[in-house]
């Protein structure tokens, strides 16, 4: 499947500039700039420990970035995670974090939390407004379950769903908050090729709803098929950003994925090391298979 490049940053949905996150002496993310436009699918790749998830957490307010700003549709995002979701940024988690002992439908209804206003009083009094809101929420949730193909399992406990469906449910739950931007943290981790294909279709379908998508992924084929733009994060810094072709051709990326260890201080030294690795890589293999490269990267990943 080819990606029709719909709108290349006509409208900026997300703009992160100079995001830096330090944990004590460790700099997990260093000065990363990233923009996501309306209707865009942007991929974020990089070896394990490159700071991708940390960057995600900075975007959603789970971490407060040490430096830098994140704005959504022109307004600066709050530092409170629940307000970020309210503003229109929804996310999934790398390790599935469903409400395991709630039913599938209830999970999605929780996702509706920010889009409904009924408080405790209205719940206790059960006025017509409350009933209407509950009905609308349920209809909306069922639409999303139809969309992700989970409608038949609405009354199952989330914990009893097979792995692939749990991932789908997490996406449905995130969509329930009616986001303008969806952050997917490794949506195909642990999936077989068929499930990965299905997820790909799902992400396209989400984009067609007008929701911008930013995703972290390790499956290179998936990323390069899917994304309009790909940014590469290595050792907390953005190495390159561009279309799939540009990124795939970039030799520093190949080198990084080959997994030359970066020891000592990341920073200026790193660039030269990448340079050195480049030469190394040129000798090592003419065509490094992405999956193998990923494996070696994960075994020699930098500090997290």
């Amino acid at each position: 499947m080819t990606t029709p490049t719909l709108a290349t940053s006509t409208d900026t949905v997300l703009e992160a500039s100079g995001v830096t996150m330090r944990f004590g002496g460790l700099t997990a993310v260093r000065g990363v700039d990233l923009t996501v436009g309306t209707g865009e699918i942007v991929g974020l790749i990089g070896p394990n420990g490159a700071g991708k998830t940390t960057f995600f957490n900075c975007l959603t307010g789970l971490y407060v970035p040490t430096e830098g700003t994140v704005s959504y549709q022109g307004t600066r995002l709050s530092r409170k995670p629940h307000l970020v979701t309210q503003a229109g940024v929804a996310r999934t988690f790398q390790n599935i974090r469903l409400f395991a002992n709630m039913t599938v439908l209830e999970n999605v209804l929780v996702g509706r939390h920010t889009r409904t206003k009924e408080g405790l009083w209205s719940a206790l009094l059960r006025g017509p407004g409350f009933k209407k809101a509950e009905r609308t929420s349920e209809e909306r949730a069922m639409e999303l379950l139809e969309f992700t193909g989970l409608a038949a399992k609405r009354d199952h406990l989330a914990r009893n769903l097979p792995y692939g469906e749990q991932r789908k449910l997490e996406i449905a739950r995130a969509l329930a908050s009616e986001p303008g931007l969806l952050l997917l943290d490794e949506p195909t981790a642990g999936m077989n090729p068929q499930e990965t294909r299905a997820t790909e279709e799902l992400v396209f379908a989400i984009r067609d709803k007008g929701i911008a998508v930013l995703l972290i992924e390790h499956d290179m084929r998936f990323v390069f098929n899917l994304c309009d733009r790909v940014a590469v994060l290595v050792q907390g810094e953005k190495l390159v950003e561009g279309t799939s072709e540009v990124v795939q051709a970039d030799e520093r990326v190949i080198a990084a994925y080959l997994g030359e260890p970066f020891e000592g201080d990341p920073g200026e030294a790193e660039v030269s090391e990448v340079e050195a690795a480049e030469a190394h890589a040129a000798e090592a293999a003419a065509d490094p298979a992405p999956a193998d490269a990923e494996d070696s990267a994960s075994t020699e990943g930098g500090p997290q």
Partner: protein
């Protein structure tokens, strides 16, 4: 019919043909029921009147009920039309349990008579006969084959016994009953529940109560195994309104069955305890906040009510009308809930438990010290605020007996009826809060706080809301509590103690009954109040036995007596409704195949 089932199933503990076993059981059960019409002993020294011919009394009623139950379940297994409605679950495990219950209750009674009165001489022939017939019933039931099929035949007698008791999945209902019949069944079930409860509360302390308890502990699983409890739950879900009405009426009619105030006070206290437990269930069961000082909120409500009750010892010396006192109590608790919650609810997990534990103790000690010497005179210190006058609503004085429908209802009966209304209110609040956007957010926070926050839930605000709501509900119960016990002393509101309204017992009631459910804490509270109240002859061992019971329960039924559907699935992976049950037919088929090959 029976022979069909025996083919694939493990045989019973005793090697009897299925039909013989069943007929023996039924006949034995019938005979046992008949023997309760005989005198079991000649002396009135044993509590309960077991000396008359033709009128079962005391523990004989337990045996009578057990006999009839066993008879019904056993004949249902014989394939009689109509009676099969009774056993949608297993046909045999339930009979075995019912027979066991009858046997245990009967033999316990006989042994208790012999020991208490000094020797077997004290047993009349009727007693021996009852013992014999109940033994025959049990032996017959032991010969029944197991309900379920197994791939490996059990080897030992014990395995065979546990196999015979094992649960089987409940079959689909074959025939729809008309709606009125179903509602009638619900009404009958609640009436039966009320009589069982009334019987328990009215039995004499000591041996008769132990006999009753022994019977109930085995008879309720028997009904459960028969699938009746599940069927009844389905019916109540189907007819929610009538079921709630029936439950309310059954609960409200309890004081009308009582001649004196001796046991209605237990009823009133159970309701107070249950109401507070339900409030705690909002905090612990729904929002997942472990609150170890919850009884303090009951105390705040009680003290607030005591101060505005017009008691002579009250520092304020004013008397609010009841509705105002009720609001004062709830509001005072609410304020304390927010005051304690606001700084601490930002913490996660265990810290909150420690802080609330501390708050509970601080409250008690503060009440002790506000006595005029070590602090301002507000609470009268350890003496507490005594002589809290009885409530009066629209000229209806709770302290005086009133005739309602020609039946005199005394002080505690009045309070019992008031507490029924308060409990109904709290039940309503709990149900509506739980099944709403707010309730879902609470459960989401309990399940995974990070994910809940990522879904846009303001976790701090919602936890505070749960905490405040729980506190307000406890304060509500506290106002009535103050009037029922007529004094408010600090010692009533401890973390742990032998008397029920304390934090440890409240938490135990919630966990024992089933966290997050509506009826769980009600049942848990009733048991935890009733058992210590009736078994005071155990005295020193009470807490020890209570602890052992709790450990056993947590080992074998961690989801509580009345499990939340979620919790049940959480703790028992197998046999759940949610997983596709293809395995069962497949398993059966493969058994069939291997059998055919063999």
């Amino acid at each position: 019919m029976t022979t069909d089932t025996t083919k694939n199933t493990a045989r019973g503990v005793l090697p009897l043909p299925g039909r013989t076993a069943r007929i023996t059981t039924a006949a034995g059960a019938l005979a046992t029921a008949v023997t309760t019409g005989l005198a079991w002993t000649w002396s009135n020294d044993f509590p309960g009147e077991l000396t008359y011919y033709g009128s079962p009394a005391g523990l004989q009623i337990v045996t009578l009920v057990g006999g009839i139950l066993t008879l019904l379940l056993a004949t249902a297994g014989l394939g009689l039309r109509g009676l099969q409605w009774l056993t949608p679950g297993g046909r045999n495990a339930s009979v075995l349990l019912a027979a066991l219950a009858t046997f245990a209750a009967t033999w316990f009674t006989l042994i208790a008579i012999a020991i208490q009165l000094g020797g077997l001489v004290n047993l009349e022939p009727g007693g021996f006969l009852a013992g014999l017939t109940s033994l025959v019933t049990l032996l017959g039931a032991l010969g029944l084959p197991a309900d379920h099929t197994t791939d490996q035949p059990p080897t030992g007698a014990w395995q065979r016994f546990t196999g015979a008791l094992a649960a089987t999945p409940v079959k689909r209902r074959t025939r729809e009953l008309p709606a009125w019949a179903e509602i009638l069944i619900i009404a009958g079930a609640f009436a039966a529940g009320l009589s069982a409860f009334t019987y328990g509360i009215d039995t004499d302390d000591g041996a008769p109560f132990v006999g009753y308890l022994l019977f109930m502990v085995l008879a309720i699983p028997a009904l459960n195994r028969a699938g009746l409890i599940k069927r009844l739950t389905e019916l109540t879900h189907k007819h929610r309104g009538p079921a709630l009405c029936a439950a309310f009426l059954a609960a409200a009619s309890f004081p009308f069955t009582q001649d004196t105030d001796q046991y209605t006070i237990i009823g009133a206290n159970i309701l107070i305890f249950a109401t507070v437990a339900l409030g705690l269930n909002v905090v612990v069961g729904l929002a997942g906040l472990l609150d170890l000082g919850y009884v303090a909120f009951l105390g705040v409500g009680a003290y607030a009510a005591a101060l505005v009750s017009g008691s002579a010892e009250s520092a304020l010396g004013i008397q609010f009308p009841f509705w105002a006192a009720l609001l004062t109590g709830a509001a005072a608790s609410l304020v304390f809930g927010v005051l304690i919650g606001a700084p601490t609810l930002r913490l996660r997990g265990d810290y909150l438990a420690i802080v609330t534990l501390g708050f509970g103790e601080i409250f008690r000690i503060a009440m002790l010290n506000l006595n005029g010497t070590t602090g301002p005179d507000v609470t009268n210190g350890a003496m507490g605020i005594p002589n809290i006058p009885n409530l009066e609503i629209f000229g209806f004085n709770f302290g005086e007996p009133h005739d309602i429908l020609g039946i005199p209802i005394a002080t505690y009966g009045n309070y019992y009826l008031l507490m029924i209304l308060v409990t109904a209110f709290v039940v309503l609040v709990f149900r509506r809060a739980a099944a709403s956007r707010i309730g879902r957010a609470w459960i989401a926070i309990r399940e995974d706080e990070t994910a809940a926050i990522a879904m846009g839930i303001n976790s701090f605000r919602l936890r505070l809301l749960a905490f405040a709501l729980g506190a307000a509900l406890a304060g509500l119960a506290g106002t009535v509590h103050a009037h029922v016990v007529t004094t408010a002393t600090p010692e009533q509101f401890q973390f742990a103690g032998p008397q029920p309204p304390n934090s440890a017992f409240l938490l135990a009631a919630v966990i024992l009954g089933g966290m997050g459910t509506l009826s769980g804490p009600l049942v848990g509270a009733a048991l935890l109040f009733l058992i210590p109240a009736k078994l005071d002859f155990l005295q020193d061992y009470q807490l020890l036995l209570f602890g052992i019971a709790l450990v056993l329960l947590m080992r074998f039924r961690p989801e509580g007596l009345i499990p939340d559907r979620r919790k049940q699935l959480e703790f028992h992976e197998t046999g759940q409704l949610d997983v596709p049950d293809q395995r069962l037919p497949d398993g059966d088929a493969s058994i069939g195949v291997t059998k055919a090959k063999a």
